[in-house]
């Protein structure tokens, strides 16, 4: 059975400095509330993993919380660049990060292999690209046909964090809509946290429902609107204006830092109602400063 904790307690328990952490959500169910809580708790030297680092990872990279990023597409979907991501890679600001990049197909195969307890995944991919020489990929030969395919290493994060629509009181989780790699993230990770819009007495089976039994999850935390400005199908709407507005905020280092100070470190989240986390610590000025 998963334990149900306030978000701040859950993050404090599960994320450690230096961890390989995947906060997943393929355009949907992105765990913004959990990510912000990680920043408020001033976790450092994270090795972040995510197929589609978007605004959340822009924020995490922008305050220097990560030393490494593995990913496959680092853009603000439909808007443009992630300016903090670019600044970190192009100028090492606020710190240099090591980058490992894959294709989506490769990252998905890595998660599937991790969830399957296989050391590698196989795909038709990478052949002829310059990626092949700059990432962790090997060629493997089919023992039956002699064909050459790509092998990618399994992804086994220390911590997997995803958002979902609901959990019951035993910590069984159900999500629906675009499933992304949410299930694989939890099943591949050594430790897992699922934030949910709401906790209900019983999960009602739904079309498209993906259920993760509570015994496969370590911690569940209630975080209403916790994936905003992305969304939780059927409960919240994607806040496209917030994604567009982020482009302007993130272009400028000072504007970015001021925004983070006001909305993440110093005040209520801009995106969500954190009633699920009454005990969220307010970071001291010192810790917020260190975070930069």
């Amino acid at each position: 059975m998963a334990r149900i904790l306030p978000l701040a307690d859950a993050v404090a328990e599960i994320v450690r400095d230096g961890d390989l952490v995947a906060l997943e959500g393929f355009t949907h169910l992105i765990p913004f509330a959990a990510g912000h809580e990680i920043l408020r708790q001033n976790r450092r030297d994270l090795q972040l993993v995510r197929m589609t680092p978007d605004v959340l990872y822009d924020q995490m990279l922008g305050v220097g919380a990560a030393k490494r990023l593995a990913f496959s597409y680092g853009g603000n979907p439909g808007v443009g660049s992630l300016h903090r991501f670019r600044d970190a890679i192009e100028h090492g600001w606020p710190r240099a990060i090591e980058v490992e990049e894959h294709s989506h197909a490769g990252m998905a195969a890595r998660y599937v292999a991790g969830a399957s307890n296989l050391p590698f995944g196989v795909l038709r991919g990478y052949a002829g690209t310059d990626l092949a020489a700059r990432t962790t990929v090997e060629r493997i030969t089919c023992p039956f046909t002699g064909e050459s395919l790509a092998a990618v290493p399994a992804l086994r994060p220390d911590v997997g964090i995803v958002h979902a629509q609901e959990a019951d009181r035993q910590g069984n989780v159900q999500l629906w809509g675009i499933p992304g790699v949410q299930k694989e993230t939890v099943l591949a990770a050594s430790r897992s946290l699922v934030t949910v819009e709401r906790i209900v007495d019983a999960l009602e089976p739904r079309p498209g429902g993906v259920v993760l039994p509570g015994w496969t999850i370590d911690l569940v935390a209630e975080a209403p609107s916790g994936s905003q400005p992305s969304y939780a199908a059927g409960i919240t709407e994607r806040d496209n204006d917030a994604y567009r507005a982020w482009d302007k905020t993130a272009r400028d280092r000072s504007a970015f830092l001021a925004w983070m100070e006001e909305h993440v470190f110093g005040g209520p989240s801009p995106y969500h109602d954190l009633t699920g986390t009454p005990d969220a610590p307010t970071p001291t000025a010192a810790s917020a400063e260190t975070a930069r």
């Binding site: 853009g75 294709s103 197909a105 195969a109 052949a127 002829g128 994607r238 994604y243």
Partner: protein, 263 residues
Amino acid sequence: MSAVTDNAGATVGEIQTIVAARRLRTAKVVFIGVGKPSTAAILAREIYHPDLVLVYESGTIGAKPRRVPLSIGDGELAETADAVVSVGEMFAYWVQAGRIDVAFLGAAQVDRHANLNSTVIGDHAAPKTRLPGAGGAPEIASGCGEVVVVVPHNKRTLVEQLDFVTTVGHGDGFAADGTPNSSFNRAELGLGGTGPSAVITDLGILEPDPVTRELVLTELLPDATVEAAREATGWDLRVADDVARIETPTPDELAALRELVSR
């Protein structure tokens, strides 16, 4: 795309979208990223081809969006899809399995053999401009039947030499007698599909030569010229003997596009 009134002539951006949509008249299943290609595919489904199946890499198969989504994971895509699958399944059972006829891709750089860069400008280890990266492109381009590339026509985009090969188009191409110019070609790399069939720009359409696979200017937008296209290309652009003039968007096409974008 510049502002126009509802009854004005089409902008080049609008024409580019309509040209892309027309490429889908005979497709059954199209794979879509964000931006212009998404608009083109939705338009094609609405005006040419109601059975066109739209597949988004977010896992939504047979989506029927009424609006142009900002991201490839907007809620309407899942709500209207015939099936919604995980990302792992999308790339394994659907893309890699070759179930998709046509894919639209964008890129920051395209070379004369339609290889694509969406990773980096400058050196990968010390980039001048870090781009978003591969996303699904490398395997989309080897899993789908053909690829249609949609890019702006300028020398920064159509370059002599890619800074990074993110996605293989036609590799190093072939000599006039059909022998490959190097081992960098689709067959030797084991890639599926036939690769890029067209690069649609805001000046015209480039298509690979049937033998050499070098891009050739084959069609021009209504107001574009061969000279302008050559001038805006980073290599010595080949031009077809009989460059066709792209048919001006019909009032119906233009009205449908504008109505779609305004929703």
